[in-house]
Symmetry: C2
Subunit: 362 residues, 2 copies
């Protein structure tokens, strides 16, 4: 088992092809991260010795039943990447491929972390000046209050470990700021997080959709249905407004000149706020972190994704998550008959190895 920090990179699934992902991995390797690339070796050209390549040409595309696709194709690049983590050869996965396949493969190989109810997909939303983490962004359509409580801690631990936010403010997304507003499970989670289950968190209560992009919270917690809709509404709204800004520059000759002069600055802004182009997402709650680079990323984006994964490992994301949850008595009790493991556990390399705990489908 390698004791140094290694990130397993799945080179399949990116729009620009495996060579672009590999170039990104090389950028990260040059800054000191060990990288193990899984993908079609002959499509990646010659790579420097700083990265190791495992030939894995098979790609699992977006599938209606990713769990089945993963079981049928143990040699697929995303499954091999997670398997490398399960076997101790790497500590995190980066992919630009299908999120469903990445989650299914993660559950199948490294498994859910002990004490975690459900893994969540957390989206990094790069609103201008006010980036935040939105979770769950789609892994769990239906949630219970204890899931939301865990998402709150998982998201806060990620913002601490990977992004260096010392005291992330955590909010629940609801249809009103009052504690009693929202679906039943939100009201219950609000009560829990306002009490012992919020221990160690900077819980700021409910926020409404207005607060998106206002900087009111660093971590916004919701179920995977609402989170998925909210994220895509942001993207749709942002795209509609940029289209309209472009066409408002045709309103008059004066506006046309203005549009021309403003274009470079607006182009930069467009790149900053487009979650599709810049955001990416993170799988939290497995025994190792998975960073979902967006398929449209170019090499520097994949390089940053590898760096983000490395930063999460360096600052012991999993250990931090579990000790936070333990202190708040928010870990999942072990199943009857299992060894007691309710107390917060010190992070160990074995956290990244598969256990006999059953994987839970998203």
């Amino acid at each position: 088992m390698s004791l140094s920090l290694t990130v397993a990179v799945d080179a399949n699934g990116a729009d620009a092809g495996p060579a672009e992902v590999a170039r990104g991995a090389v950028l990260a390797a040059e800054s000191g991260v060990n990288v193990l690339i899984f993908g079609p070796a002959r499509e990646m050209g010659s790579l420097p010795e700083s990265v190791e390549v495992v030939d894995a040409p098979l790609s699992i595309a977006k599938s209606a039943d990713p769990a089945r696709a993963v079981r049928l194709h143990p040699d697929a690049s995303i499954v091999q990447a997670w398997r490398a983590v399960a076997d101790g050869h790497a500590q995190a996965v980066v992919t630009g491929g299908s999120t469903g396949a990445a989650l299914a493969a993660g559950l199948f190989t490294v498994k859910r972390a002990r004490g975690i109810h459900r893994p969540a997909l957390a989206a990094l939303v790069p609103m201008p000046d006010h980036p935040f983490l939105l979770l769950d962004a789609g892994a769990n359509v239906i949630v219970r209050p204890e899931h939301l409580v865990q998402f709150a801690h998982m998201g806060a631990a990620f913002m601490r470990a990977a992004l260096g936010v010392a005291h992330p403010r955590v909010a629940l997304l609801s249809n009103g700021e009052e504690a009693e507003r929202g679906r039943e499970e939100i009201v219950a989670a609000h009560a829990a997080l306002s009490g012992d289950a919020g221990l160690g968190l900077h819980f700021v209560g409910n926020i409404e959709g207005f607060a998106i992009g206002s900087g009111a919270a660093d971590v916004i917690v919701t179920d995977g249905f609402t989170g998925n809709v909210a994220l895509k509404v942001m993207e749709g709204t942002s795209a509609a407004i940029f289209r309209a800004v472009r066409s408002s520059a045709h309103a008059s000759p004066r506006a046309a000149l203005g549009g021309l002069l403003l274009k470079p600055a607006l182009g930069d802004l467009r790149n900053t706020v487009d979650p599709e182009a810049q955001g990416g997402a993170v799988l939290l709650g497995l025994r190792a972190v998975g960073v979902m680079a967006h398929g449209s990323f170019s090499a520097p984006g994949f390089g940053r994704a590898v760096e983000l994964a490395a930063q999460a490992i360096r600052n012991d994301l999993l250990g931090l998550t579990l000790s936070q949850l333990g202190a708040a008595h928010a870990l999942r009790p072990p199943p009857p008959g299992a060894e007691a493991a309710v107390a917060p556990r010190a992070p160990e390399p074995s956290d990244a190895t598969p256990s006999s705990a059953p994987a839970e489908a998203p």
Copy 2:
């Protein structure tokens, strides 16, 4: 009972005060709509004889329990406005006050329309080039499939009657386009609307949040929790981007000049897309329509709200809604022991009078 078209206007609750609402009502009256204004007479100054004023100084502000506030204050302007409809003196209500109070007062006086499970709040969203109706925007946090089916017909009937869209395209908001994606009630509503319950509708299936503002649908149907979050996320995103566009004009002297030249066109756009400033909402499913002008509207906005209500009445919104629902066998069966009333009913003035059916809290 007046047989001509009359709109009851609640002058309380608007940011600019009752006089501004009254000025808007006068604008509508000048174009031929009878207007009956309920509000503080001494704050509205002298008004032309084209409008009738009923002195009703008491305003119900936003309340945690609007149903209780309505029962306690039968003399409040919004309750008197709806009461005028229930008594046959008017056929619709316009208000810039609290939506919760308007819904509670409507349920208390004119009641739910026969055959309707639940009234819904429908938001008019003025995306550039692609305005659409989003419902439910907040009246029902939890819904059943048959509620979503009715919302689809109610929304389509409104777009036909009030906005002249001949064949509105209706979609369900979900976390994927496939028929099996989404919460249980969405999957069931999708199946129903793809079958007999979609009769007479142009049902286009599920759309994702991306489609907001793309013109993919004229009516977007969802539960009141998701709808409320989605609407506010649109507003939050739109505000964040306009803030960022403004500050991108400080990126360089070149950008600053561009921003200055583009400013008037962008200002127009800002006004077009801001749902707070231009959208407003509609209460559907009561025995008469209620148009919720936004509190920030100025006189012309209130005038347009009155016109919108008048247009809905002229084109028999309620009759159209009920005959559509009847044809699709989607009316609510009468309670056991009640007279049979499942068949679509011709619209009658009695639709606007109170029945003994129990009001249902939102």
